[in-house]
Symmetry: C2
Subunit: 242 residues, 2 copies
């Protein structure tokens, strides 16, 4: 039989995708439990083992979290432990410290070529630009500039950012239904310009990490492009290779 379908995928992956679709549709909210494996097996008309393998994949991707004896839960950025899933910053002396976000600006604008390419939108589309400082132990360590698609984050304001207690991604999750699932970062070394140096409390031309990130939601949809400048006087960017 000559069927040249590149669309074949095993049953468990189809189930995986059905679960992701239900998540996208908002059927189960972050932090909540999804139905048991038995129930899902019944619903999709497959065996429990197949559902299990689908959930295994989603758990490996940090989209779901299993808890023995309790159920399987939609992972959430509300969880304080989730903060360091995307923030690879550690203090040189001592472990991770909960960062505090200090919003500086929140402006409307139009997407340039680069922002459009990274966000997968048309040049000229409305975007929102957020600038903020991240403080660790009271000291400014990171200055971030974020580019967000305007249609997704409609209504985002500086007041909202200032009022929010918690991580930016937990705000995005609970106010805009946007759940960051994975990201790609490109790291380079750059010299601190005067304005940046002042904010971070370092000398002009001090070497800084430039961390450029594209973050994706379900279905590999890019929903954030950001560039951070990290002072690595007292901190480093940590990475596990395997």
């Amino acid at each position: 039989m000559a069927h040249e379908s590149p669309t074949f995928s095993p049953l468990y992956r189809q189930i995986r995708n059905l679960i992701v679709q239900a998540l996208e549709a908002g059927e189960w909210q972050p932090g909540q439990a999804i139905p048991s494996e038995q129930e899902l097996a019944l619903r999709f008309g497959v065996s429990q083992g197949t559902v299990r393998k689908a959930i295994d994949e989603l758990a490996a991707e940090n989209i779901l979290v299993r808890r023995q004896g309790k159920g399987t839960f939609v992972s959430t950025h509300q969880d304080p432990r989730a903060v360091f899933r995307f923030l690879r910053l550690k203090a040189i002396n001592g472990g991770p410290v909960l960062p505090k976000s200090m919003p500086l600006e929140c402006m409307r604008g139009k997407a340039g070529q680069e922002a459009a390419r990274n966000l997968g939108i048309a040049p000229g589309s409305q975007i929102i630009i957020v600038r903020r400082v991240l403080k660790l132990e009271g000291k400014p360590v990171v200055i971030d500039e974020m580019y967000l698609p305007g249609d997704v984050f409609q209504g985002l304001s500086i007041e909202q950012l200032k009022d929010w207690q918690g991580s930016l991604y937990s705000l995005f999750e609970s106010r805009f239904g946007v759940r960051m699932v994975r990201a790609t970062e490109k790291v380079r070394a750059v010299a601190a310009e005067r304005a940046v140096a002042e904010v971070l409390g370092v000398a002009e031309n001090t070497p800084l990490l430039s961390v450029e990130r594209v973050a994706y939601s379900y279905g590999d949809k890019p929903v954030e492009w950001r560039r951070g400048l990290y002072s690595t006087a007292d901190h480093f960017y940590i990475n596990e290779l395997s």
Copy 2:
């Protein structure tokens, strides 16, 4: 029943560890196939499904590689595709390019406090220090300084390093039986000192990435401590977050 054994581990993990032990003992060499799941199941007296789950874990850790229809293989740094498993460097314009290693030095020395701590050996133990430059497309991009435990890498010489065609880790694997399995990297931004700047062909004080790595072999044994200085004029350090 009050048994306070924290040593419990499921059968498939015990099988996993038995397979790792066999790998450590050199029963199967890098690049070679290990016995089929059926054979292993027979050998260990468990079902094929349990062996499968053990191999699943080892494949997720990149210690084994499955190939449908052919068998399961011991992963190897000889494979050119494996080079970028530990080298997170990409050209700003274009994809990855095969790097060329240029050894500069290979000296004997004694471990200081820091080297001893990172390598898990006694201060004063014999170590080998290797310095080399990594060239991409003919241009020097990285300068590395490596600290290796002397007992493991006995006999390593500058001639051997210069003669070797291939990655450093493939040399370690085939000549010393040392197989790097995972690593931790700490990234910071630093200014180029004069000597380094000259080697990398950049101006003095140019911001560089400082990448400090501890690499581990089977059983989480640290076998390499290195520090690399990366020029990010034409390249960046890439990282996937999830």
